[in-house]
């Protein structure tokens, strides 16, 4: 029983981590229908900002997280103006190509600036170690991830469904021309949405360093994981990716715990199966 609970906890936490590193992509791909394969590059930027602030300037981890968000959002804002904007109406293939190009460039720049090696991250004492509850080992950082992920999902849903900005985003995505006629400043809305998506990528990257590590190949290495969550979850809402991430996390951890000999097959097989059964994702756009 304890082992089952432990697996469930670890799986949910791992799933939440997957959600956190890919929620930014759910925003850009899910809401704006833009295939941003360079999502990982923004995540990596957040990771480096976090690590550098902590190492060189001794900024505490919890302060470095918002900084990672801001830095990636700013980078997203600039790139949106000079590059991404031109590709909203182009085909998915064009979007794939441009953003793969950006990934290569980001890898080269990161190698040039920080070298090819892994970057160390030292968590504050309060976030490391573990608690034991009912015989289950609860890793403190994983608890932290669960809380942050839940808060983030809740906030984003609230913003999208309850605020004027959320309404404007949905209107702009639905039909840009009609939204424009209704007085929505579509360009600005897209720009802000994109920046938020990139900021979330940065935040996810910073939160993920502890588990995923950080080196210049980060954007390419985990591209499949980001896409996995969004493709399996569906692009209609934020709930889909959240469910998908938690499901994949639990499946992966449970598979590794109970059937370790199956190895990497579980995650890929689940992905292919789910996409065959539900090509539009778990929660399809209405």
């Amino acid at each position: 029983m304890a082992s089952l609970l432990g697996v469930l906890f670890d799986g949910l936490a791992y799933g939440m981590l997957l959600f956190l590193v890919s929620v930014g992509l759910s925003v850009t791909l899910g809401l704006m229908n833009f295939v941003n394969l360079a999502h990982g590059a923004f995540a990596m930027l957040g990771g480096y900002v976090c690590v550098v602030l902590m190492q060189r300037w001794g900024v505490p981890f919890l302060m470095a997280l918002p900084a990672a968000f801001v830095a990636s959002a700013a980078a997203g804002l600039i790139l949106e103006r000079v590059l991404y904007r031109r590709f909203y109406r182009r085909s998915h293939l064009d979007q794939v190509l441009v953003t793969i190009g950006l990934v290569f460039m980001a890898i080269a720049v990161a190698t040039w600036m920080f070298g090819p090696q892994q970057q160390p991250l030292r968590l504050p004492g309060a976030l490391s170690g573990q608690w034991t509850l009912l015989g289950v080992d609860l890793n403190v950082y994983r608890c932290f991830l669960l809380v942050v992920g839940a808060l983030l999902a809740w906030t984003l849903t609230l913003v999208l469904e309850r605020t004027r900005f959320g309404a404007a985003v949905r209107a702009a995505v639905d039909d840009a021309r009609v939204a424009e006629a209704l007085g929505v400043r579509v360009t600005l809305v897209f720009q802000l949405t994109f920046a938020v998506g990139c900021g979330l990528a940065g935040l996810g990257g910073a939160l993920g360093v502890e588990v995923l590590g950080l080196d210049p190949t980060f954007p390419l290495k985990y591209i499949v994981y980001f896409l996995l969550v969004v493709a399996v979850g569906g692009t209609g809402s934020l709930k889909g990716p959240l469910f998908a991430a938690l499901l994949l996390g639990v499946a992966d951890v449970a598979g590794k715990y109970y059937l370790p000999q199956v190895g990497a097959f579980i995650l890929y097989a689940i992905m292919v199966l789910l996409l065959i059964v539900r090509p539009q994702g778990l929660v399809a756009r209405a």
């Binding site: 791909l29 295939v35 590059l83 031109r86 590709f87 085909s91 998915h92 293939l93 064009d94 794939v96 190509l97 441009v98 793969i100 190009g101 950006l102 990934v103 290569f104 460039m105 980001a106 890898i107 080269a108 720049v109 190698t111 040039w112 499949v224 896409l227 996995l228 493709a231 692009t235 190895g263 990497a264 097959f265 890929y268 097989a269 992905m271 292919v272 996409l275 065959i276 090509p279 539009q280």
Partner: protein
């Protein structure tokens, strides 16, 4: 519907045939460019003509490479029959997987092909007893071509063999894209919904071209393993699929020759830029890709093609 054989086409293949004189010391490199070009041609059939976005095409390249390699490693070292067998196996793999791929949107296709590629890579890794795993498949020994020419260290036999196979397959592909079937593929790429409305069984056409392209990819993989006489796990790698996409786009998609031009430019640029500094290569590769797409994704060939046709349409 350009059906004439242009003098540029004749020139293209003549220059390649004259490779023995023009670049006698670079024959191994030229062979590998041709193999990459054939692989890109196969990808052009599904992406450039039929509009299927895939990031897992290396799966079929790898299936062909392992099929030919395993045949040779187990005593069947006759190259041509091995090549045909490898093409058939890869084509069959394409046919079997096509129902998963042809349905769905760009994004699901992207994910499914990527997933299939990763699954196959993992499978080849796990079946180390058969494939050799990451160490690679050893003991691939080829018999002389047509019983007469052994594969020599200068790469002369290999170059002739590769060029002949590529030329024959190119001619077939050229016929295909100029046939009614080729036209229907262009129709599907442009507007699959309307194709259904005029009675086209879209999924069937896509499955057919997907399997055909998979067979081509398999032959390309088989050529690689036969001329290298070794098969590494890298034939199935994700980066091979991604580089393939880049090669085709650099050369120009939907123009038949784009893959060859792209493969040559890509491999030569890789060679020179990465010998200056590996970081440069990656940066300029990325920047080049962004610029090409910004300019309208015509690739190198598309650029000249457009200039020629605009010059022709001017009075």
């Amino acid at each position: 519907m350009r059906l004439r054989t242009g003098w540029l086409e004749v020139l293209f293949w003549s220059v390649l045939a004259a490779g023995y004189v023009l670049w006698p010391s670079q024959l191994p490199f030229a062979s590998q460019v041709l193999i990459a070009g054939l692989f890109a041609l196969s990808y052009d059939l599904i992406l450039g003509y039929a509009g299927i976005l895939s990031l897992g095409h290396a799966a079929y390249f790898g299936v062909g490479a392992y099929a030919a390699g395993l045949l040779a490693a187990h005593g069947w070292g006759e190259p041509i029959s091995g090549l045909v067998a490898a093409g058939l196996v890869a084509g069959l793999a394409g046919l079997v997987t096509s129902p998963l791929v042809v349905r769905g949107t760009d994004l699901t296709r992207l994910m499914i092909t990527t997933g299939l590629g990763l699954l196959l890579f993992e499978l080849a890794n796990r079946l180390g007893a058969i494939t050799g795993g990451v160490d690679g498949l050893q003991g691939v020994e080829m018999q002389p071509l047509l019983g007469a020419w052994r594969f020599d260290i200068y790469g002369r036999t290999a170059y002739g063999y590769v060029l002949a196979v590529v030329f024959v397959l190119f001619l077939a592909a050229r016929r295909l894209v100029r046939s009614p079937f080729g036209l229907s593929l262009r129709g599907i790429r442009g507007n699959p919904g309307r194709m259904r409305a005029i009675g086209c069984r879209v999924d069937l056409h896509l499955a057919a071209v997907y399997a055909f392209a998979a067979a081509y990819a398999g032959v390309a993989g088989a050529l690689l393993s036969q001329t290298t006489q070794f098969v590494g796990l890298d034939v199935l790698s994700f980066s091979r699929s991604a580089e393939l996409l880049v090669m085709l786009i650099v050369g120009g998609a939907g123009l038949l020759y784009g893959g060859f031009v792209g493969a040559a430019v890509f491999m030569i640029a890789h060679h020179y830029l990465s010998s200056l500094d590996p970081v440069y290569w990656q940066f300029w590769l990325g920047a080049g890709l962004v610029i090409i797409v910004l300019l309208g994704r015509d690739g190198i060939l598309g650029f000249f093609h457009r200039r020629r046709s605009s010059a022709a349409s001017a009075p």
